[in-house]
Every structure is written in structure tokens, then in C-alpha cells.
Amino acid sequence: MTDAGKFSPFDIAIVGLGIVGVHQITREVGETIQRCRHTFVVDGGFGVVPYLKTICAEVTSLLPFYERGKERLPTYRRMAAEVINAAIARSPVCFATYGHPLVYCYPAILIQRAAKLLNLRVEAFPGISSLDTLFVDLGIDAATDGLQMYETTDLLLRRRPLQNDVPCILWQVNAIAEPTYETDRRSADQFLPLQNYLLEFYPPEHPITLVLSKTFPLLGSTVETYRLGTLASDLERGPQSGNLYIPVVRRRAIVDYELLEKLTVGT
């Protein structure tokens, strides 16, 4: 079943499992998990843990560490500690999380920090992220006008300036200003500061699309478009999960005509 215990260039592998479940586990990630003695998993996708148990001798889900109403930070420290502790005892071990393992994944940050201090070798392997699936769900190419993206709470916290001629993605709108693990629905009041802040950069009629990519092969992705002027109440009624995509108000005008001329010669 596994090749665990053979030579390994790392003590800890940090891997991403993708968004939709087993279908998006890359060959590289599958091979890596197979070579680890113990895999710690953050993934609630149906069938993911049972599948991992077929390729790794020991698999532990870290999801039970989450508790409603409890701050996320101690939970993330505990997850990281479990992985480091196992790596010290019997490497190689794997920390596997849905999506990309180094995007919005504080336990991975802690694992890397502790590993540096304890001289443990870490290697990370990417997974398909919700950014990748968002591009597919919306059919957009980020190369056209560039892309800016922020975590929603961080946007408000630092009052980061937005360029309305560059598409914008706001992550984790459902976790806005919330340090604890919550599954309760959020009210319009909680989304209102976001709506008001965005109105400083975009007109009220500007469209904003909520994208919740499918998390199982047979599901469809949720894509709902709202108007900024009613964003808070629309988010209250919406799926209360997913990310926001804000298209440009207008395309930025070309300034360097000399370069343009070079680019268009012969076309």
C-alpha cells in the first residue's frame, strides 16, 4: 500500500489536496502522501480521508480540533504541534489540506517556522487552489487587466486602496472580522462596513460576483452576481461562503504609444 520509510528528502511534506476532492489530488501529492508514515488532514470533503487511508498507513483528521466559538489561533497551533511532534518521533510525515497548502493556511506557516528552529526538513507541494477554480468558474484570464486580491478583513483593517481598473478578488467574506470558528449565518449589518468601504471606489450599480466553487465532482459551482449598493443584504441572503470577484469599472488607458506602436507592427 505505501512506500513509507524509504529514503525521503524531507521530514515533513506540506501538500494541497485541491478543492473538489480526490479528483484534484495531483500525482505529485499522491506519491508524496504514499511515502509518508503519517498524514494529518484538514479536509472535510466527502471521501477524501477514506481515500487517503488507502494510500497512507496512518491518517489523522485534524478537523475535530475546531470548536464552534473557539478562537482559531490556538486550534492552528495545536494542528501544527501535532505534525511537528510526529515528525520528531517518526518522519516523514505529511500535513495535507484542501486547496493550496500555503494559501490561507496558518498551521503551515507555524510548521515551517518550527521546522526551521528544530532543523527539520520541509518540502511543500502545491494543490489546486480556489483561485484556480475561480478562474474556471468565471472564465476569466488574469493576464488581461491584472489582478488584485485581499482577505476581506485585512482590506478593511488596513483600509487598503483599491484600483478600480484592475479586477479584484476578496477572500473569505464570510469570515469578516471574526477571530473564532463560526458556522452561524452572518447578518447584513456585519457586511455593511465592507459595502461602505467598496463604495469609496466603485459606483453603487457596479456588479460583484460571489463564487463558491464546487467541492464535490457532482455539485455545480455557485456563481451569483449582486450590485454593490445592496451587497450587504445580498450576502446575508446568499450562501454565506465563497469569495467575491469585482470586475473593473473601466479599462486603464494606454499611455506609452511608442511601445504600443512596436507591439502592433505587422498586425
Binding site: F46, L73, I84, Y104, L118, Q172, N174, P217
Partner: protein, 114 residues
């Protein structure tokens, strides 16, 4: 006879079967023992299936950038961390390996570094 969970697991792990189901759901479901509601969840309503599949992943991996609020650092400075006596002591405790509960000193180190 295999049930709904068996079917959903197979969808995840057997890509040919997944494609077969998409092409001809009735034929693919033939060998599974499903209630009328379960069959409808698979062939008609995405919402019912969503409920059946449980908690969305997006609830789990939530950002913790607020943990970095007090830090002006742009990255993790190993040398600076090793220069802090409380971090050094925590590392010594982990390395000593004398604690009955080996997780405890590792957790103490985590609290010092993030």
C-alpha cells in the same frame, strides 16, 4: 447491496465511473440501493446533495492574518527567534524529550513563534 455512501466514494475514486454516471445516470446507479430521495438528490437537486455531503470546506481553512497584526516583520527571522531566550528554552525542552507528554513542549514552542 452498495448504498449512497458507496456510490459517492466511487465517484471520488473511479473517474471512469464518474464519467459513466454523467453520461447515463440511471445505468450507473443500477447496482446501488437508493431511496427515492437519494436518487433525486443525485439526479435532480444539487442542493439536496450539498446537504448530504455536509460541512463546506471553506469553513475550515480560515485565515489567521490577525495573528500577525502585532508583528511588523515581513518574514520569519530564524536568527532573531533563536536569540529570544523563551524560544531557546522551548526548543531545549522539545529536544530534551523528557516530558511525559511530548506534544506539550512542542505546543509551548508554537505559542512563542506564532
Amino acid at each position: 447491496m452498495p448504498n449512497l455512501d458507496d456510490f459517492l466514494l466511487r465517484i471520488q475514486t473511479d473517474h471512469s465511473f464518474y464519467l459513466r454516471f454523467r453520461q447515463n445516470p440511471e445505468e450507473a446507479l443500477g447496482s446501488y440501493e437508493l431511496s427515492a430521495e437519494e436518487r433525486a438528490a443525485l439526479t435532480e437537486s444539487g442542493e439536496q446533495l450539498r446537504v448530504r455531503l455536509g460541512q463546506l470546506n471553506s469553513y475550515w481553512k480560515t485565515s489567521c492574518t490577525h495573528a500577525l497584526l502585532g508583528s511588523g516583520e515581513l518574514g520569519f527571522d530564524v536568527t532573531a527567534a533563536l536569540g529570544r531566550s523563551e524560544v531557546k528554552n522551548a526548543i531545549d525542552q522539545v529536544r530534551a524529550g523528557t516530558h511525559a507528554d511530548s506534544l506539550k513542549p512542542v505546543l509551548a514552542l508554537m505559542e512563542k513563534i506564532g
